[in-house]
């Protein structure tokens, strides 16, 4: 059984990342369940998506403390869902900052030193500037796939398996740019 948490802000592309992961595990013949968020949280709110794959999967949700990998598209969101990870689990995090309203209004500061905080809590961290890598690959909108590429080493799988998963989840003309983004992340991760 593998439990992957994908955390981000509404609109950052958690759903696409979950579909790529889902395609990867399906191709391996595993049972997959994915829990998504639709509705109010998508209006710039915090969004958690979970992907579970194994022989038999019951709940689509991950129990706190049982997640293997946390893929985060934003620093605060990495902190928010850290409790989903098992001790010693790995966080793959984009260093992007998206200010939530309490920070924008000055009511709360944006937390500093997030990578160190996560390490100090006993987790492994891969942090990368996914937005910049995505921009270099051709589109900042593929930052999600860059982070997924960075996570691919930990998740495992051959280049061929990942490419097939990308092709299964990404439609038509966007495939090439997502391939580039994935490769950029895979090299950085």
């Amino acid at each position: 059984m593998i439990n992957i948490v994908i955390a981000g802000v509404g609109g950052q592309g958690s759903l696409l990342a979950s579909r790529i992961l889902s395609a990867l595990y399906e191709a391996r013949g595993e049972t997959v369940k994915v829990s998504e968020v639709h509705g109010m949280s998508q209006r710039g709110g915090s969004v958690i998506t979970t992907v579970r794959a194994g022989k038999a999967v019951y709940s689509p949700l991950i129990t706190d403390g049982e997640g293997d990998i946390l893929i985060a598209f934003e620093q605060i969101e990495a902190l928010r869902y850290l409790n989903q990870l098992k001790p010693g689990g790995t966080v793959i995090m984009s260093t992007q900052r998206v200010m939530p309203m309490p920070v924008l209004t000055g009511a709360m500061p944006y937390p500093e030193g997030v990578t160190d905080t996560i390490r100090a809590a006993g987790y492994k961290v891969i942090a990368l500037d996914a937005l910049e890598l995505a921009a270099k690959a051709g589109s900042p909108r593929t930052a999600n796939v860059v982070v997924l590429g960075a996570a691919s080493g930990i998740i495992g799988g051959t280049d061929g398996e990942w490419d097939a998963a990308l092709a299964a989840a990404v439609k038509g003309t966007h495939l090439d740019i997502n391939r580039k983004a994935f490769a950029a992340g895979r090299n950085a991760g």
Binding site: T31, G39, M40, Y58, D64, E66, M99, P100, M101, L104
Partner: protein, 575 residues
């Protein structure tokens, strides 16, 4: 062939495979995608109705005509559709009639977390509850069979975690039964007291027959564990959570039908385990049934009636303590916000500035309640902004000068217009602001009577809201651009002062609609640090360490609202 599908998508697949040809719904999270996916099948006629009552009645009409018909809604939508459905239980059906209702335990996107199973019992309509996408498809098909066999509408109960989880589904062929013969049958379909009395007796008979059916149906099954210590009764997502929590040693009565409920399975499981838990989110519906039949169970005495269950919560029942997770300081919360460029931001800024009391409604604009816009006093249910303002003004007429009802276009058509008719008829000096963004926003941009197209993407007549309001008898109807904050303030001041009902239509399409033009990001030069621009709560603006406002150019869509507030002309377009 297996395909990963959302529960909602799988319900739509079930509609297709069952040969359903008529779907009418009103959007509502977490049910919306059922109808969206159903519309993608050419064989299914699917539409967005103005509200759930209209949708359910239309589906009833299609059923009487002989078609397999469907309506999908969220739990609070079922409140709106309850009137026709309670009596449709009496008339029964011609073509199968299936109603999906999606509950929202945990209130991810809802104003309450009512338990829809009570409706099944109250209306005497059978209810199935799938626990994954495969069952969503299978149970939808079964629901049509049961509907026709027992002459009753059938509920399929979903929940957020079932509707919005993707799990594998084995696809099947479509088997479309022909349209059933339409026959006039006054005794069955005209529910006047004399006929209804006879039909009530029929309802009691078929519910009893369904009670017998569910004793042997394979959708209710006992899954024996490796031990006989713990037994669990559960349905839907609660079954999945319980399986995670108690594992393969426990035995489960997995219920596919939650009304009527079986008795024999319960007694069998109870007789063979040491302790029997009922794991059901929200109310003690199954537990009450168990107790009624003398089966001793542990349920709400140990488990909360609030929200969704988690695995650790259930494991506590059998003596496990909390999982140790590393503690970090909780980061700042990230509540949902009005989007960058949102046309609701301007009117809420003005309402905040004028310190108005606001009766709000259900939609994206409910987010205007949050700081810094902070402009909502009441939000109850769809349409209530208009009618609750009327009552408020009858009790406190002096508040007319500083109170406004705020409602979206789709919500106004859903159930706001009846409140407006009341305000005219019973003469309150209500000021109603319709935030017309030309779409049903919060649920993901569904078409509605003002959008000019149908769910199937065909052109449709555009409902003229201004003419509608005038037709209701409102003499004072004005239309203002949502980004014209001066115009909105002027209109509000005038209409609040008027001693009769008035409507201000604040018009501008949702910033997320594809045909809405995005402009280059604005720039700030020589910011005087007065922070007035931050009062609109735009997520693309923040205060830099210097105290000056900065615009996040990756987010700004150049709507220009902030520039209108800056007294120093420091915010401008790029030349």
């Amino acid at each position: 062939m297996k395909k990963m599908m959302l529960g909602n998508e799988a319900v739509a697949r079930g509609l297709y495979e069952a040969g359903c040809t008529f779907v009418s719904s009103y959007p509502g999270t977490p049910s919306t995608e059922i109808t969206k996916y159903a519309a993608e099948y050419e064989e299914i006629y699917a539409e967005w109705a103005p509200n759930e009552k209209v949708a359910a009645e239309s589906a009833f009409g299609a059923s009487v005509a002989g078609a397999r018909a469907f309506s999908g809604m969220k739990h609070v939508g079922l409140n709106v559709a309850a009137d026709p459905l309670f009596t449709a239980a009496y008339t029964g059906v011609n073509g199968g009639l299936v109603i999906a209702v999606a509950d929202d335990m945990g209130m991810h996107s809802s104003q309450n977390e009512q338990d829809s199973r009570h409706y099944a019992m109250a209306a005497k309509i059978p209810m199935l509850e799938p626990a994954d996408s495969q069952e969503c498809k299978d149970f939808t098909k079964l629901a049509f069979e049961l509907s026709e066999r027992f002459d009753t509408p059938v509920f399929v109960r979903l929940s957020t975690r079932i509707s919005h989880a993707q799990t594998p589904v084995e696809l099947g062929e479509r088997q479309a039964p022909p349209l059933r013969v339409y026959e006039k049958n006054v005794g069955k379909y005209v529910m006047m007291p004399a006929m209804a009395r006879a039909r009530h007796a029929e309802v009691e008979k078929h519910i009893e027959a369904l009670g017998e059916w569910c004793e042997t149906a394979d959708i209710n099954r006992i899954e024996w564990g490796t031990e006989r210590k713990i037994g669990v009764v559960a349905a839907g997502i609660a079954y999945q959570t319980a399986r995670e929590a108690f594992g393969d040693t426990a035995s489960y009565l997995k219920l596919g039908m939650v009304y009527p409920l079986p008795v024999s399975h319960l007694k069998e499981l109870a007789s063979k385990v040491d302790v029997l838990y009922v794991v059901e989110e929200l109310d003690d519906f199954i537990e009450t049934h168990c107790k009624k039949h003398g089966v001793s169970v542990v349920g709400k005495a140990e488990l909360s009636p609030l929200g969704e269950y988690t695995v650790p919560q259930l494991r506590k029942l059998i003596g496990f303590t909390d999982v140790k997770t590393a503690a970090v300081t909780p980061p700042p919360p990230r509540p949902p916000v009005l989007c960058v460029g949102c046309p609701h931001r301007g009117p809420f800024y003005v309402m905040n500035k004028l310190k108005l009391a606001v009766t709000g409604d259900i939609g994206c604009y409910t987010l205007g309640a949050a700081k810094p816009l902070d402009s909502m006093d009441v939000c109850l249910c769809m349409g209530a902004s208009v009618s609750s303002l009327h009552g408020l003004l009858k009790a406190r007429p002096e508040m007319a000068e500083r109170t406004v009802a705020v409602i979206g276009d789709s919500t106004f058509v859903h159930s706001g217009v009846t409140g407006l008719i009341n305000a005219v008829y019973n003469q309150s000096a209500s000021t109603v602001m319709i935030l017309d963004n030309r779409t049903t926003g919060m649920t993901g941009h569904q078409a509605n009577p003002v959008t000019g197209e149908t769910l199937k993407g065909k052109p449709a007549p555009v409902l003229d809201l201004e003419a509608l309001c005038r037709g209701c008898g409102v003499n004072r109807v004005s239309v203002v651009d949502a980004h014209d904050i001066t115009g909105i303030e002027k209109a509000l001041r005038e209409e609040l002062a008027a001693d009769e009902p008035s409507v201000i239509i604040v018009l501008r399409p949702c910033a997320l609609l594809k045909n809405v033009e995005k402009k280059p990001p604005l720039v700030i030069e020589n910011c005087k640090k007065c922070k007035i621009c931050l009062r609109i709560g735009c997520p693309a603006m923040h205060t830099a360490q210097s105290g000056a406002t900065e615009i996040d150019e990756s987010q700004c869509v150049g709507c220009g609202l902030c520039a209108k507030l800056c007294r120093f002309g420091a915010i401008r377009e790029v030349n």
